[in-house]
Amino acid sequence: MAKRKNKVGPVVAHFWIYVLLILLAILSILPFWIMFMNATRSTPEINANSLGLIPSKYLARNWNVIGTKSFNAMTGFINSMIISTGATALSVYFSSMTAYSIVAYRWKMRRAFFTFIMAVLMIPSQIISIGFYQMMYSVGMNNSFLPLIIPAIASPAVVFYMKQYMEPALPLEIVEAARIDGAGEFFTFNRIVIPIMKPAIATQAIFAFVQKWNELFVPSVLLTDVKKYTMPMMVSLLKGDIYKTEYGSVYLGLSLTVLPLFIVYFLLSKYIIAGVALGSVKG
């Protein structure tokens, strides 16, 4: 490695690099910081100065106010939890299964099938929302969670990732050995392949969960009953007139919708960043 003789230049450059990095870091934190802090402040306090950087003592009051109105964090949380957990489980299990069918078996349509999966990788679900809504409406499934959960069985992006991971990670000799020992194909998949896929499943599960949790368009189309609202849909309720002067409560409501994500993120950030680096989530 060639070391430069000029020491001053790099040091100065270094300084400005850090300045920019720290500014960007502040930019990432500040909006959320203001949100959390204002959640603990009262309306008069925010009226006087909305740029709250230190916590106040009105969290309980704001909590009480928010509880009396349409915004219901608990309902939103439970609904989002049901949908996200269900969809994530289906998505990772069946995507592994689909990837396994491509990697482990030599069937005629295999190549065409994988080509198809890559071709449809990027089709966003909102483009077909009208046809999807009409279909669900005609079978009376609007306002049901199932149309938000079951389609996760077919997640092309997850299949693509699982296939890329499985190819080098799964030695087919193991599958052969299991067959010789008399194991059925489903047994082999569930007991041997799935455990080998655990790291990939964990990564994909995080992303599938977060993506589902944050989804707004499709749930907004299907769910019209306030009792069925998901967390992101609850946010739109905070826009209503009933919260017009309850600034603190609005900030508290916003904080509640993202608190679970912050917890998940700071517990798993290492894996999430590594997962992004592998190109696992799509823009």
Binding site: A25, P31, F32, M122, Q134, I150, N214, V221, V235, T257
Partner: protein, 350 residues
Amino acid sequence: MNKKKGVSYAKWGYIFALPFCIAYLIFMIYPIFNTFSIGFTNMTDRLQMQIAQEEMMGIEPTVQVELLRDEEGNLTIFDNYKFVLTDPNFWSSLKNTCIIWGVNFAPQILLALVLAVWFTSTRNKIKGKGLFKVLFYMPNIITAATIAMLFTKLFDYNKGPVNDLLRMLGVIDSNIDFFSDEFASKAIVAFVQFWMWYGYTMIILISGILGISPELFEAADIDGANGWQKFRFVTLPNLKSIMLFTLVTSMIGGMTMFDIPYMVGGQGGIKGHIRTLSVYIFEMSFTGGKLYNRASAASMLVFVMIAVLAAIIFFMLRDKDEMARHKIEKAQTKAYKKMLKEEKAKGGVQ
């Protein structure tokens, strides 16, 4: 690859791929065709309500969902498309989508590139890289709806921290009504998009740079290249395909941009300044008159645009090695068969 072994188990390949295929057929292919065909009909919420009502009263339906026709009964199935394509709101939404996406993407890829080069540079070891990455990526994982709402509060006219801050710093005397201004409201949406995605792009580019063979950098070092030359002649050319990938995925994401503009602008997209294509479709189909037919036509137009972009990605993602292998295999089989044939023609002479 042991062909013989594969054959007897081939049916299991179909069995394991079956759940995916069924789910995809029902929840994706059918809705696509459904959307496509609704675009040619007269289906609106009003029509559906009328049919349901008449059914409930037990009378013969006087109307039905059918292909569009004019008074003489001639098919006019492209009327919905005609309507959308002559709707100024459609064009302004397309324009808004492109502007907001472009204004967010240009600085995003630039900043991501600069950060990625810094973070992978062997010369200036930056401390706390891990923490910075975690913080820069953070906005990407937080619910977009919440972020949009948060920023409308932050830029609020009356009680917005941004206005308070600007007044405290003496930049302005009286509060600015950001969202009534076309430029400011577009800029805010673009900024939020930028802020949510530059960390993601940065991480993708970092992994791209780490994937470049270190030997190339070493060779450049030996040749006495400076930092800029290494970037210009080693990093940048080798990042080309990954940057194109980022560009196209971001474009597709941009075409369907919904959460931020919808939550910031609400219905109507504040005087249409930040109404994007997705907001346009959502408004048309699920609010007000619920014109499913026209919204379907608009959806299909967007679908075509995305399909073109997706085709680019597809040709990039194709496993080139595997394609090459497949080609060679095919050629070999062909040559082998030809040889057999010729031998047969020669009378099976060894």
